[in-house]
Amino acid sequence: MTNALAKNVARRVMALALLISPSESSEWAAAMSAELEHVEGPFNALSWAAGCLATALKQLCLSIFSPRKHASGSSDRQFFAGPAEVTMTRTAKMFLIACAVASLLFLFAPTFRQALRVTAGTWRLSDSAWLASMRSLGAKAEAAHDAQTLAFVAMQMRYDAQNLAQRDKFADEAAQLDPRLTWIYCSLLSADRMIAPEHVDPNDARWLTQLQAWDPTNAAVYSFEASDYRPPKALGDSEADRALLANSPHWLDAMAKAFSASNYDSYFSQKADLDRAVAQRQRLDDPIQTFRGLMGYGFPDFINFHLYANDFLLKSGEDFEAKGDFSHAEENYWKVARLAQLIQLHGQTDLERLVAFGLESSADARLQALLQKSGNSSAARLLVFQAALARRTTSGIRAKHNQTNLELGADGAYVLQFSLLGIAVSLLLILSCCAYFAARRLSSFGKTARSGSLFARIGIVGAVLLFAFVVAMYFGYSPYHTAFQNYLAASNPGDMYKSLLRFEVLQEMPNGLFYSFRSIYFWYTVIALGGAIIAWIILRRVLRTLHPHAPVHPAT
């Protein structure tokens, strides 16, 4: 029963093999089919039929894709006529063209164009092209008196060390045209600290004065001022750092103003709103630059807050407490707690909230003990509750970030990076095929069956790969495209930030290499090595073709 069933299935498989077998190998298909009747055992019959089907499929593929020999006639004629002329079959040509056209059609899809631009953008060695486009946009905005675009351009150019004068000019014009944009100076002040920490830009002092006059109650502005006076080495909590800072009266003065300020605003949401407004108006759909622009935003120097709170206010509070001067001690602790509360209330990012919780927990712990000591136990209990609430919120933020990182993952980024690599290699293969056949039309170079066959196959493989990688890139980029649309439509900075985080992962591919030696060098190395290997393989095959007597097998 089993034997009959297996034989029956094998016969059906064999019938399929006969059906798909091309005419030039039909005799062989019939031969395989005839042998099936002599195969013993059900398993052997099925195995035989499966092997025959695989052979028929292979022959079918070869008949579709392999080149056709034009030189017809007897083998003697071929021998005396020299190598046969090889061209691609009509089907193969049509297939190659169809794949190439289908791939090109994707260029009409905005998602694919953005995918190509964004992924290629992560491979660029510098931002010079983007900065040049920004300078040009700035010049146009200048002529149109477009304050928002001028402000946007000035901030995009904030690290353009070669064109600082132009950047400053754009920023000043923007602030003059619309004084509500004066906050942009904060971003430029922060960038100047990064470009040259020990060199103060001549405009910086003027900008600080303007900022303080425009928003005198903002603690963040005084932090920028303090950064100008902070000794570069004072970054930690050591006694030496404390001594350095204690001898910097301007720094102490600026920080005293910051801790007495009644407001806090890092202007991050203004920056995000400006970016979106200008990106939509000027049709700037470059998510990587948008991401870099937003992530590189200059927050106030939180180290100043940390150093002044811990090394001065809290420490001197402890000294007062030790001397029994509870009133001054409490005053110092409250100063820290109050600024922390301001940052919590008005800070627009999780980074600011975490900084605030850090400050507040230090102050609250001391205040709680002090209030307990001075007999105000109800206020102390309130602080215990507040501290617990702060801890819960902090762990919530951390959990949210971990969850976001998990959600983002790196799989999509790998698909995009490898798709771009694949597109580059496929184009290389197609170009080498086209170049070969074009050169063969013009000269007698490589006019052999073997090289023609090789290059025809290279072209077809390249076309198929191109289409496959284009499709992979299109679908791989879809979540990124949606994320960018969400960024443009988001109503709060948190959502915007989350939408753009995907591009951080993409920008830092492959993971872990970005900070050590820019990932772009990794990709260029991959392309160079891959190109060299392909070139070596092709050259080897071509040389064999040009020297057909090279002994591949002994023939006597």
Binding site: M32, S33, E35, E37, W48, G51, T55, S75, P554
Partner: protein, 105 residues
């Protein structure tokens, strides 16, 4: 010009089977058992050898009625020369493997 046959281990095994009985016509299934090659490997090699004129084929009527005619194979003099030359350096090894493979069946 035809591409030289890639002398894979499987090709050498098949040639060894032919060389063992150079004058006999062989069936596909018979060759498959002798070399332990599956049909999906055996027939592409046979096709390549035939394409290069190293293998001759013929159809023979079945011994039992009701069965289809069988396709039979034998090396041509050229094929036999190439086979013997190709097998020379590794003859012993291939034949040993072939015998081992057959023994496993």
């Amino acid at each position: 010009m035809l591409r030289p046959v890639r002398m894979s281990h499987q090709t050498l095994r098949l040639l060894a089977a032919f060389v063992a009985q150079p004058r006999d016509w062989r069936y596909g299934y018979d060759l498959s058992r002798a070399t332990t090659l599956k049909s999906g490997t055996l027939y592409p090699i046979l096709m390549r050898l035939n394409k290069r004129g190293w293998l001759e084929t013929r159809w023979v009527a079945p011994e039992l009625s009701g069965r289809p005619p069988r396709h039979m194979y034998r090396l041509t003099p050229d094929g036999l020369r190439v086979a013997r030359t190709s097998l020379a350096p590794s003859d012993a090894r291939v034949l040993r493997r072939s015998a081992y493979g057959a023994a496993r069946c």
